[in-house]
């Protein structure tokens, strides 16, 4: 079958995903439910050691105020109360400042940065010349005889991002296909059109400073794909993308 004339040209494309780094915000139902679950857990629980200590110390304080007991005060030892401990822990917590969930790249809508939209998947799009048009596509290169389609896709990734990219390709099988016929002007007997096979990979390293980016590129979420991809292409790509 290698000798048979195939009218379709084969391309391998790679959909490189940067997985989310932070959790997605909760819906209202989820938040209410979480609060309810905590409340129920509190109601069904017994007092812990720390709470017992707090209760006992409150009792002691009350007794001391009501019956002017000098014995305890005469001891001279400073006893750390559970309440003081709690305040100390609260202070320490307030001093800690976590990294912001909405980054600078989010605010400036810098779509070439990987630090944007940390709670969703980001996909790599590159500008490629197809025929005489410059289009935004998932990185693709033509298949060459002697390699599997997966290696074609990996080669596509390496062409645009350099060799030092660390990505985990999800299996040998393609995830989707986009078939199109060439415009009548360049269509021949042997060259009816092209089939683009999509592969999926997860980006492992978060540091792409070593990558030599050779063309215009963007990292976009699934919703933003519609801004860049053509309709038919987008339909096929959306089928294998889980949001």
């Amino acid at each position: 079958s290698a000798a048979a004339r195939r009218p379709w040209r084969l391309f391998g494309a790679m959909c490189l995903l940067r997985l989310p780094r932070i959790t997605q915000p909760l819906e209202t139902v989820e938040e209410e439910m979480a609060a309810l679950m905590q409340q129920i857990e509190l109601e069904k629980s017994h007092y812990s050691d720390h709470e017992m200590r707090k209760l006992e110390e409150e009792e002691q304080l009350k007794r001391r105020k009501e019956s002017f007991y000098d014995e305890d005060e005469a001891r001279g030892k400073t006893v750390i109360m559970a309440q003081d401990l709690e305040e100390k822990w609260e202070q320490k917590f307030l001093q800690f400042k976590a990294a912001p969930r909405i980054t600078d790249a989010d605010k400036s809508n810098d779509r070439t940065s990987l630090n944007r939209k940390l709670d969703s998947n980001l996909m790599l799009l590159v500008k490629q010349k197809i025929g005489n048009q410059e289009l935004w596509l998932l990185p693709q290169v033509e298949w060459q005889p002697g390699e599997t389609l997966r290696s074609t896709a990996e080669r596509a990734m390496a062409t645009f991002l350099g060799d030092h990219i660390q990505a985990k390709v999800l299996g040998n099988a393609p995830f989707g296909i986009y078939k199109y016929k060439f415009p009548r002007a360049i269509r021949t007997e042997n060259n009816v059109g092209a089939k683009v096979f999509f592969f999926k990979a997860f980006l492992q390293s978060s540091d792409l400073s070593q990558a030599e980016l050779k063309a215009d590129y963007l990292w976009v979420t699934k919703k933003e794909l519609a801004d860049y991809l053509k309709l038919e292409y987008l339909k096929k790509v959306n089928r294998f993308l889980l949001d």
Binding site: L36, D119, F197
Partner: protein, 157 residues
């Protein structure tokens, strides 16, 4: 010159030692025959100090509005989860269909590429990944000193 008397002692000793060894072996066999003790799961055994009565929390009883609100919230949650599950299943179905279509088209193209595509990828599993956290990692953060020593008891059968 040594006479018969010391020699007798040695023989008796040897026999006594042999009898001792057999007794030990019998004891070992008895212990081995007994069923192995089950490893206790420490999480399921509540320590006795928590069942004291003064530990019981004293809370006001739920008002009817509150219990009504809770029941309605649970029903909303049920519906929400059902919709979420259906959406997930639909997405997975679309994914599988897309892959099947791609493999069909590939087969039409060339058998060898198809065979290469349906081969199992040995390097894929086991696949490990850290899940997302609430805030992104703070660059250059130095956690306060102190370390945790693991004191979980490990039981062997």
């Amino acid at each position: 010159p040594s006479r018969a008397q010391p020699k007798k002692k040695k023989k008796v000793d040897v026999r006594k030692e042999q009898a001792q060894k057999e007794r030990m072996k019998k004891k070992l066999k008895k212990l081995e025959k007994a069923a192995p003790e089950l490893i206790p799961i420490e999480d399921f055994i509540t320590p006795l100090k928590y069942s004291e009565s003064n530990r019981v929390r004293s809370l006001p009883t739920l008002s009817p509005e509150e219990s009504e609100r809770r029941v309605l919230l649970l029903k909303k949650w049920c519906l929400f989860k059902q919709k979420q599950d259906e959406a997930e299943k639909k997405a997975i179905k679309a994914l599988v269909e897309s892959q099947q279509e791609a493999l069909r088209e590939l087969r039409l193209e060339s058998e060898e590429l198809y065979e290469a595509a349906i081969r199992r990828d040995e390097g894929l599993f086991p696949f490990e990944r850290d899940g997302p956290s609430y805030t992104p990692p703070l660059p250059g953060y130095d956690p306060p000193e102190g370390k945790c020593i693991d004191i979980t008891k490990v039981y062997t059968q």
